[in-house]
Amino acid sequence: MEPWVVNVAIFVLAVFVGDHVIRGVTPALHTPLMSLTNALSGIIIVGALLEIASVEGGDLPLSAWLAALAALAAAINIFGGFLVTQRMLAMYKKRGER
Amino acid sequence: MMRIGVPREIVAGEARVAATPDTVKRFVGLDLAVCVESGAGLAAGCADADYAKVGATIVGSPAEAYACDLVLKIRAPEAQEIGYLRAGSVLFALADPWRNPLLEQYAASGIRLMALELPPRITRAQTMDVLSSQANVAGYGAVMLAAARYPRYFPLLMTAAGTVKAARVLVLGAGVAGLQAISAARRMGAMVEAFDVRAAAREQVESLGARFVAVDISAEGQGGYAKVLDESDMERLRAALLPKIAASDVVIATAQVPGKPAPKLVSAEAVAAMRFGSVLVDLAVGTGGNVEGAKQGETVTANGAVIIGESNMPARYAADASELFARNIFNFVAALTVNGRLDFGREPEIVGPATVCRDGELLFGRT
């Protein structure tokens, strides 16, 4: 059994989870939700980090620089995304909390 | 074949009739013969021809109508009618036995008189219950008269020419008439409050969406009726109601205790405290009245307020009131009829209390 089939299993289950998790979301939360999922897709930074870390010591090859750029992009996304979500959600505070 | 007679009512203003073409048809369906005195139903919208069409015989004189085995009337005979009564016949009518001076004469005539106000107010007797059906008309009619006389709107309206406030209606006594009055007044948009001395009335008043006026005086009687309060309680009650009355625009008074004088709930002082144009309708005026100054069958003005005293409100709505009354009597008779004859052994729970006199004997008041 190759490792990718396990990945497929995980992927398929995750699709179900993603589907179900979102059903019944209040329309008013569409935009914050989009913003959060955007922040979460910044997880791609893990790929960038692993790629950077995989280079042998010494001079950094082009691939490392590309990966670093990817990390930068993803990091902007992560920090910006969560913060923006936070700000949007602040508008939805229940009465009494304001 | 048993014959049923329907004489014309002779009391002034009594527009109702004890049998309508609808019930005559039903009697005929039970194989009973019906004689209607000519003109008996005219004031209630039932022409002789309508009766004839469904199989009644039209007779020209009261004597002929009274000559039947079973006589149906709204009101028990007046003195001048006593002569028509025939021993052995049965008469169904409202007899007002507590105040009627002729009971002995009825008994002496040898008829069996069934007083329609006497059956118990139990669930099974409801179909024969003229008190309910007529009180219902009275409650409704009281509000209609009041609204027609009240020189303002009942409902709240916010218009370009300003806001008119909803009328405040106070209903005293939340029996059948009172409840119907509440519902009619509420329908028309008034703000309605009601008061009664029976505890069960509160939930019933609230079930119609009105506010219950709580006064901590209770006078639960028997059989769902209230009992008479002593004078000190009445004094307290009048005092408690005074500000409520003063703040009201319309008062519909329906409080009664069977066989007893009606409680005097609205003092002249309270009437004087109401604003110009207020209307009071006193349905209890026949038994002494709830409102001080109310006159039986008259509309009087006191301090800018109008007091309508009407103990026979149903007669003003004679068409429907007669339909209901006649149907009640029919249900009563039908429940006792076996093979075309009356069997007074049936329904003892209802027949017993209703029998005023029988075989020359006066039974009413014996218990």
């Binding site: 989870v17 939700l33 790929g47 042998e56 | 916010m158």
Partner: protein
């Protein structure tokens, strides 16, 4: 103790679970902020784990990239205006797409460990989706921020061109997969970028939110693709979750707009919609419109609500539904009042009659003079089938034929919801500025239907 690899795997799994909980949290307002925090923690776990297991992290490079990202990200997020949120989100998607492409390129170009055949499929998919996401998001951002016209840009045969381009991308990808030739990979990326641009140009501004959500989904799939190449569970799970939820969200949004996803993607529809909204003959100015659910959300979270009924409420005989709805709101702790304008409806006292039929207690009903000062302190005003009686022109515009008539000052509330069937005028035949305010949301539909929809969705 499980092996280090297993530990890392479990840590990633934990991060993924946190992500799932985060998404779940965002489905209801009450849990939404906690959801966001869970997402942050999950991200921290994922990044931390990665750093711990990385064999030879180029720390300096890493630190610079992260720090720069943090500074830029927070900076932008802080400064952006609430109204610019959609554009910002679109821009962020571009970054994710870009990152996916860069990582794929890095793997393809790296001097060591050439990717296996299986990995090459995954790389191809990740990079292609990433590239489309990138370029499409850039265009979406430009359109939303008005750097480009919001008008759909359609030309004949565009769908054929797109198909051709997509097939070429596929061809390049397959060639790369079979031959491991980097140039084909690069060509594929370039063409996919072009495809992204072409795909998005014909879609109108009104449909952009759906498109942004869809790009969101793409960016998830791209991340999952990269996860496959790197055999990394959190990338797969998070990517798949984001991908799936984004797709579903797009569908939900389409449904709310009564559109199909296909019609959105094939474009050119945005224009038609614009026309429909103004077809009723009113002005061409843009209005904000929302669904009954949106209105419900605003109303439920308000503290003070004023209902302004008008002739349209009577026409749709919605009084009973309204009363029921108001009672639900009140049971939820919202203070609901009715404001009656003296000439609302078509006869004096029309609204009173209507509300009385539904047994609205008199003490909740206020006339104009009593309530006009309350509007400014009101969170949400819902105008139900009224028009002339809330027309600010009567106050502000001496030219207006109703100038001077006192109106209900609905426009002074914090938020205004207007329920009517179209942009049509009322009895006096006038256009109504209230409808075009920034704080006004139009809910188009028969008043009764709209209210019943709100009642049904009341939880």
């Amino acid at each position: 103790m499980p092996a280090a690899g297993s530990m890392a795997f479990l840590a990633y799994l934990g991060g993924a679970v946190l992500f799932i909980l985060a998404l779940k949290g965002l489905t209801t307002p009450a849990t939404s902020r906690r959801g966001n925090w869970l997402g942050m923690i999950g991200m921290g776990v994922a990044v931390g784990t990665t750093l711990l297991v990385a064999q030879r992290p180029a720390w300096a490079l890493l630190a610079v990239a992260l720090a720069a990202g943090a500074v830029i990200g927070t900076g932008v997020a802080r400064r952006v205006q609430m109204t610019q949120m959609p554009e910002l989100v679109a821009a962020m998607h571009a970054l994710v797409g870009l990152a996916a492409v860069l990582i794929a390129a890095a793997i393809v170009l790296r001097p060591h460990d050439a990717p296996t055949t299986a990995q090459r499929i995954e790389l191809f998919l990740g990079a292609a989706i990433g590239a489309v996401t990138f370029s499409a998001s850039v265009i979406a951002w430009a359109k939303l921020s008005a750097k480009l016209s919001g008008k759909p840009l359609a030309f004949a045969g565009q769908h054929w061109l797109n198909l051709l381009l997509a097939l070429t991308v596929l061809g390049c990808g397959v060639t790369y997969w079979l031959t491991d030739s980097a140039p084909f990979f690069m060509a594929m990326v370039a063409l996919a970028t072009l495809l992204g641009i072409l795909l998005i140009m014909p879609i109108g501004g009104a449909d952009m939110p759906v498109v942004v959500s869809l790009l969101n989904s793409y960016s998830g799939w791209a991340a999952a693709g990269i996860g496959f190449s790197l055999d990394n569970p959190i990338l797969i799970i998070a990517g798949a979750c984001v991908g799936a939820s984004g797709a579903i969200l797009s569908m939900i949004m389409c449904r709310a707009m009564n559109r199909s996803l296909v019609s959105v993607l094939l474009g050119g529809f945005g224009a038609a919609q614009g026309e429909a909204a103004t077809a009723a003959g009113a002005s061409q100015r843009p209005v904000k419109s929302g669904s009954p659910e949106d209105a419900l959300f605003l109303l439920k979270n308000a503290e003070r609500v004023i209902v302004v009924p008008g002739y349209g409420l009577a026409v749709s005989r919605a009084q009973h539904a309204l009363q029921e709805f108001a009672e639900l709101l009140r049971a939820g702790g919202v203070d609901v009042k009715y404001a009656i304008h003296p000439v609302a409806g078509r006869m004096p006292g029309h609204m009173n009659v209507l509300l009385a039929e539904a047994e609205v207690p008199y003490d909740q009903v206020f006339e104009q003079e009593e309530i006009n000062n309350d509007f400014a302190q009101t969170d949400v005003v819902i105008v139900l089938g009224a028009n002339d009686v809330v027309n600010p022109a009567a106050r502000n515009n001496p030219e207006s034929p109703i100038y001077g008539m006192p109106i209900l000052e609905a426009h002074r509330a914090r938020t205004v919801i207007v329920v009517k069937r179209s942009m049509a005028a009322g009895y006096a035949g006038l256009d109504n500025d209230l409808f075009y305010l920034d704080k006004t949301m139009m809910v188009f539909g028969d008043a009764k239907k709209v209210i019943e929809e709100m009642v049904k969705n009341f939880h």
